[in-house]
């Protein structure tokens, strides 16, 4: 009895102890979380300040008026050098899981601060810091991650199907760790018809053929390999793993589609695909983009489809962003010179990588309408800034790089898929049909002018030959 009583008190005591300890632990945990949050927000703030500091330095580096060598200038130069040198030390293992953007490469293998351009360097570094601060101060990413886990768990035992839920999930961005699987699934979704009719080993056969005998495309492909994504570590040197795969996919495609052969720009599409897909899947991804998504003649010798789409885009811009349209008209800025590239290579090299891959997620699932959406969204995002510019030169200069200054993927996506609605595909189809005829006519006219010119020149040369002696005499 005594023993029992003893055990009872002991038990009571221990229970109390446990309760107290867990209360203490909870407390400590709460405090730690609090500290962590504080630390994160401080780090974000630090990034912002550092970024602003860089911009300030940049401004001061090229003062408007002073040509004299004032001591202040030396100080600024020194500060600038220091700012570019000091890389916050990051743990490399961590960089793989979380985009720690101030480390040398991002998770996709792109340099965070490009090496080739001194002036760009500062801007890029400040951009990297801004991005970091953005990703630090917003933890909503996690909830997207959870949604994805839930969705994928629910589809574990059945085939994934197209549905609104999935579409919205993809629009919010596929997490890095699921992207390979999802891209592969998207490609197979669109390419099923083509792939089923292909003989087994189709890709290997094409590749074999391509490696055995060169075609006109192979030389151009070779010239472009190292000029594809030189700022990405997977494509930066002749021995990089990506280069060989890139060559193989492009060569195989040039044999599949001799009408196109090789068009500059395809290299970038493939290079991006290869970051998440195996060689053969990347090949089918290219086929999807070129032969399923894009209208005919997008990449062929005339680039007819591409030219048409730029006119369609102009129509859409004038409808959705009339003020901007009027502004461009006023200063005679042909922005399609810039946007042409966005469409041809689906924004590769035009936007920061986080945004690029999010665009590609939706693009591979939904198709080319996504390009129109984001092209308009980019303009809308910076509409006020563009409207402030008052001459064509500064507008062009701004258009050349402004897309890379946009960092908030969430905001951009909200514009692309929200503010710009309604966005009927039928409208795009109609405009395409309308402009196709016009561009075709123009191309024919142009060819006629060219022939006239050549004929005229021929006769001129003949005449000149006849009178050349006289000319020299006089």
């Amino acid at each position: 009895q005594d023993n029992l009583q003893g055990y009872k008190t002991q038990n009571k005591f221990l229970n109390k102890e446990i309760l107290e300890l867990s209360a203490l632990r909870r407390n400590a945990e709460a405090r730690e979380r609090e500290w962590q949050a504080k630390y994160t927000s401080l780090e974000a703030k630090l990034c912002q300040i550092e970024s602003k500091y860089l911009i300030l330095l940049q401004e001061m580096k090229t003062p408007v008026c002073s040509e004299d060598q004032s001591p202040a200038r030396e100080v600024i130069t020194q500060l600038l050098e220091d700012a570019l040198k000091a890389e916050p030390s990051e743990q490399p293992e961590q960089a793989f899981f979380k985009p720690h953007l101030v480390s040398e490469y991002d998770i996709y293998g792109f340099q965070t601060v490009p090496e080739d351009d001194d002036e760009e360097k500062l801007v890029a570094k400040s951009r990297a810091l801004d991005l970091r601060s953005l990703s630090l101060s917003e933890n909503r990413e996690i909830s997207t991650g959870v949604k994805w886990e839930n969705y994928l768990a629910s589809t574990m035992n059945r085939e994934m199907m197209r549905c609104v839920e999935l579409k919205n999930l993809i629009r919010s961005g596929i997490p890095h760790e699921h992207r390979s699987k999802m891209w592969k699934w998207c490609v197979s979704l669109h390419i099923k018809k083509f792939k089923d009719s292909a003989v087994p080993g189709y890709f290997q056969t094409l590749l074999q053929k391509a490696l055995e005998k060169p075609n006109p495309a192979s030389k151009q492909i070779e010239l472009d390999l190292l000029r594809t994504l030189p700022n990405n570590k997977h494509y930066s040197s002749p021995t990089s793993e990506g280069i060989q795969k890139l060559r193989n996919v492009l060569l195989a495609f040039s044999w599949r589609n001799p009408d196109i052969g090789y068009c500059q720009g395809l290299n970038r599409l493939v290079a991006i695909a290869l970051l998440y897909l195996e060689q053969e899947d990347a090949f089918w991804c290219l086929v999807t983009i070129v032969e399923v998504f894009m209208p005919r003649d997008y990449y062929t010798k005339t680039l007819l489809g591409s030219q048409v789409d730029q006119r369609v885009f102009k129509d859409l811009l004038s409808e959705k962003l009339p003020r901007l349209h009027a502004h461009f008209e006023q200063y005679k800025v042909d922005y399609t010179l810039i946007t042409f590239n966005w469409f041809l290579v689906v924004f590769v090299d035009s936007v920061v990588s986080d945004i690029l891959f999010k665009i590609w997620d939706s693009f591979l699932y939904e198709g080319p309408k996504v390009i129109f959406r984001f092209a308009l969204a980019l303009f809308k995002y910076k509409e006020e800034e563009i409207l402030k510019l008052q001459d064509s030169m500064s507008i062009f200069k701004y258009l050349r790089y402004f897309t890379r200054t946009i960092l908030d993927a969430r905001k951009l996506t909200a514009i692309a898929f929200g503010d710009l609605n309604p966005f009927p595909l039928r409208q795009i189809r109609n405009r395409r049909a309308y402009h196709l005829e016009k561009v075709r006519l123009e191309l024919t006219e142009l060819e006629a002018i060219r022939e006239d010119f050549l004929r005229e020149r021929e006769t001129c040369v003949e005449k000149r030959d006849l009178i050349s002696d006289d000319e020299e005499d006089s």
Partner: protein, 212 residues
């Protein structure tokens, strides 16, 4: 500030030629004074700005248009060429095929663009990558002079973007000819063909003549 009586010219210059001959490298060297062996291949078109203090009273702003080298982008060139005042046509001395393409590029240029006075735009030929050892084409300058004369180039230069050879010189040559062609009194009969766009058209009219 104190240079209020300076004249300013704005010229759009085209840089054209086959794929991989070094157009982008030449521009980067000229504008940013640096070089990298692997600039990304240009698709469509890219731009760069260079300001030249031409002489004590003249500032020349050059807008350089870096145009993709692959032939199929040539279908877009009419848009790119609009209002250009001069052109560099570039080839790679280590690849004879790129030299053979020079006449094709020149024809393309002349068929799509004429100055208001009815003449073709001044064009300078650049034999790039001249740092890369012996070259078959360049061994005798007389032949090149002949080629330029026959094909209507105002001059030619052996250049190297890598070693920074002759790029400034080539540009000065082209600008000199543009300024001269601007003061050419012969006017076109049809006023509505593509007109070069000038920032300060009131004062430029005879700058070269008066200089002597």
């Amino acid at each position: 500030m104190q240079k209020h009586n300076q004249k300013e010219h704005l010229y759009k210059l085209l840089v054209i030629g086959d794929l991989g001959v070094g157009k982008t490298s030449i521009i980067k060297r000229y504008v940013h004074q640096n070089f990298s062996p692997h600039y990304r291949a240009t698709i469509g078109v890219d731009f760069a700005l260079k300001v030249l203090n031409w002489d004590a009273e003249t500032v020349v702003r050059l807008q350089l248009w870096d145009i993709a080298g692959q032939e199929r982008f040539g279908n877009m060139t009419r848009v790119y060429y609009r209002e250009a005042m001069g052109a560099f046509i570039v080839f790679d001395v280590t690849r004879p095929a790129t030299f053979e393409a020079v006449t094709k590029w020149k024809e393309d240029l002349d068929s799509k663009l004429i100055l208001p006075n009815g003449k073709p735009v001044p064009a300078v030929l650049l034999a790039n990558k001249c740092d890369q050892g012996i070259d078959v084409l360049m061994n005798n300058g007389i032949k090149m002079d002949q080629f330029c004369k026959e094909n209507g180039f105002v001059g030619w230069f052996e250049t190297s973007a890598k070693e920074n050879i002759n790029i400034n010189e080539a540009s000065r040559c082209l600008v000199k000819h543009i300024i001269a062609s601007e003061s050419d009194p012969v006017q076109s009969v049809e006023p509505d063909i593509i007109k070069p766009h000038l920032n300060s058209s009131k004062i430029v009219s005879c700058s070269a003549c008066f200089k002597s």
